[in-house]
Symmetry: C2
Subunit: 462 residues, 2 copies
């Protein structure tokens, strides 16, 4: 008798796994029909793996996750956890022979404590919905990724998502107090606590946050909520150049103001939204100050911006603020009308923002690739967006090379490949360079300590 | 020929290690004289391990650390890293056969960037000195443990130290952007970056923060600085009971105010400081609001406290503020006059503060052990302080039992054994209960991934 080929062995395993899952999960949890499976094979990045996943488990309870992982682990079958599939780096792509574990149906807010300013939620809760639920108690969930209306808390934690307000309120990690998670072998662990402080043991909560589903599957999260600020003041200023707008953002920092958000939009983006906006200036900076001192801070900011800007508008009216922020919010839809946007996500020390933008322009010109840039100025987090022809089968070499140069630029300036979107599959080839060989090797050992068989989201992140 | 006994083998190894260190380190780095060694065998907790350490390495450069660890690792000799030795949990105690690695001489501020609002420092920098250096640029280092004048940044990071201002500005972890650290085998790694955001790879920076010297030795830290607030307003209010003061702190949170600090001092502590203070009330709450809205917030706070308090004082004058804060600052010296204070450090969800204090009083009465309580109210972090007769050789059983009940209380309320001081040796026996068996086992696997021979600060933390 000869040994079965790898492929034959794998398909035996796959059949066995599906049998066990069909036996141990409620009937509505397991989907194997090609349409459902295909719909769960990629995310918003559009990246695709070869082949088709085995099946999709629609988890509704932690037990669904433990059963799924226990069986997958026993048979060594890879598992790709996913939320709403809004990731931009391909972290949820699933190819041949992989089981997809869909957490979007675990979407209950389990607890909301106004007194302790925290919520306990399942991973499939939509971020904006948590924020809304908190709002009923005068609280809010501070992290506000641009995808908040469609992305899930679990996905936000998996990528340590940022957003606009993290200029002042920190990234997702800063709002995660504790987690329930299931390890690769089906063991349930609890990390962190219900308190803001706590130093018993290593910080597994922070380690899981941003781990892109490669260390464990998050089944519930205890999240910090914060009071809705007493007041908010919004400014929008147009500048003769991106550099001038960047300089203005430095001046805000130097004056000791910590704005709630500081968003930069470059001229090509303004033009894509509305050519009339582009006529107002070559760059737009929108700043929001909040809290009891919002109007005092906004006055200082207005005074700082005025000598540098073409025009400055200030408002404390929410509707007017929304219209000032509109240009920023319309950026992506506008670029989507031009083609397929590849949204990069580098971060640099914030004093290098102007330098980064200048270099990105040079990269764009050198490769003949249009690059549009928006930035979270207070964080030094730039989104250079390469727009390519959607009809193309694969990314043109020039776009790929431009992206590579943008990453190299970020590292040269002391920054990072990804400020808030994660590595996924799209940025993997540059990870080792950022981490350095020793830290990279150590990270692989950590992965092994969590998931010795390597079944959790293989080929992602590291 | 028979195998050498363990002890003989160990003393051979020790001699070999000292020989290698004498060969490879500059002469002023290695100390073996009994006085120096004895002075580096414990920390401010007063806890002691049996026997005497081998020697002390006074590191001045990263290379001193790599050389020391490489040789210690090669020979399997345990190493206890330490800063200023101000820890309260025994994290830096060193006993028989152990090499002490003293980082206090690595005390340079390597860089201070006002534009990027960050500093790069060696681990031996005294926390208050960094804060002072930042002050010259209108910035500050936000974390302010009570020990800031005597403790080091490295020690603060090792314990993820808290402080008063972390009510608003977070714990040490929230100010650490990146680290250089040396692994047990002498490999240098760099974690994190110079940017506020960044999600490439697992968050080793957070993992090392609070790891109490058991995972790696920190040789430099990139720290976030923040602007000195535009204004500060301080309130001090006396209350008829600790519960009333706790209720007042809840009211502040419910009103959506995030104070920069909210410190609670109970009646017995007030009495220990000055019996006259105790006559003003059974508890003191000191609140500080800062930022552009400080005075607006302080007005709201005063309005909330007035109906609950006996007296309320408000000031925006720094000298007066200092005198209002004095009672809080005098608490520990006052208790030290009464005996040897054992400072516990539990944290509970902040709405359980009153309940925790009530239970601590009951524990005190049941065991006939005087317990004095101060608390960081906004964090739910209580320091119940058991004062024992300093003449006693060992802790009385009643004190030990009372401490055990305090830890059990913290866990029952959904809190933690230690909010900001660390586990060290003193709280180790309760760690497994807080973490649960699966997370505890996982943490041990992480320790092995970093330090397979277990030479770094053995017997601490986990």
């Amino acid at each position: 008798m000869t040994a079965p080929t790898t492929t034959a062995l794998e398909s035996t395993k796959a059949a066995e796994l599906l049998g066990l899952l069909a036996r141990d999960l409620a009937p509505d949890r397991l989907a194997t029909d090609p349409r459902t499976v295909a719909a769960h094979a990629t995310d918003r990045s559009g990246a695709r793996s070869d082949g088709s996943p085995l099946a999709v488990v629609h988890a509704r309870r932690t037990e669904d996750v433990t059963v799924t992982l226990r069986h997958a682990h026993g048979l060594g079958v890879p598992v790709v956890p996913r939320g709403a599939g809004t990731g931009l780096s391909g972290g949820a792509t699933a190819g041949e022979g992989v089981l997809v574990l869909d957490l979007s149906g675990m979407n209950r807010v389990l607890e909301l404590s106004a007194d302790d300013q925290l919520a306990v939620v399942e991973p499939g809760v939509i971020t904006a919905e948590l924020d809304r639920a908190a709002g009923a108690h005068g609280l809010r969930y501070a992290p506000d990724p641009a995808s908040a209306a469609i992305s899930t808390i679990g996905g936000n934690i998996a990528t340590n998502a940022g957003g606009l307000r993290c200029a002042k309120y920190g990234v997702t990690r800063d709002s995660v107090l504790g987690l329930e998670a299931v390890l690769a072998d089906g063991t349930v662990i609890r990390t962190g606590r219900r308190t803001v402080k706590g130093v018993t043991g290593y910080d597994l909560t922070a380690l899981l946050t941003g781990s892109e589903g490669t260390l464990a599957v998050i089944t519930s999260a205890t999240l910090r909520l914060r009071p809705v600020p007493m007041a908010t003041a919004t400014l929008a200023a147009y500048f003769p150049s991106f550099e001038a707008a960047a300089e203005a953002s430095y001046a805000i920092g130097r004056a000791g103001i910590e704005p709630a958000l500081a968003e930069l939009v470059d001229g090509p983006v303004l033009h894509a939204i509305d050519p009339e906006l582009r006529e107002r200036g070559a760059a737009l900076l929108v700043v929001q100050c909040d809290g009891a001192g919002a109007s005092v801070e906004a006055e200082v900011v207005a005074r700082l911006l005025t000598p540098l800007a073409t025009t400055v508008e200030v408002t404390d009216d929410p509707a007017e603020a929304e219209s000032l922020l509109a240009a920023r919010r319309l950026a992506l839809p506008a670029l989507e009308r031009l083609g397929r946007p590849l949204i990069e996500d580098i971060a640099v020390p914030r004093s290098r923002l102007a330098e980064a933008a200048r270099s990105i322009r040079a990269i764009s010109e050198r490769h003949g690739v249009p690059i549009f840039t928006i930035a979270h100025a207070a964080d030094g987090n730039l989104h250079p967006i390469i727009v390519v022809d959607p009809a193309l089968e694969r990314l043109p070499d020039a776009a790929w090379e431009a992206a590579g140069e943008i990453f190299a630029l970020a590292l040269r300036l002391g920054g990072t490949l990804t400020g808030e979107h994660g590595v996924g599959v799209l940025k993997r080839q540059w990870v080792a360079e950022e981490l350095g060989p020793s830290a990279h090797a150590l990270q692989r050992r950590l992965k092994e300590a969590f998931d010795p068989l390597g079944i959790l989201n293989p080929g992602k992140s590291l």
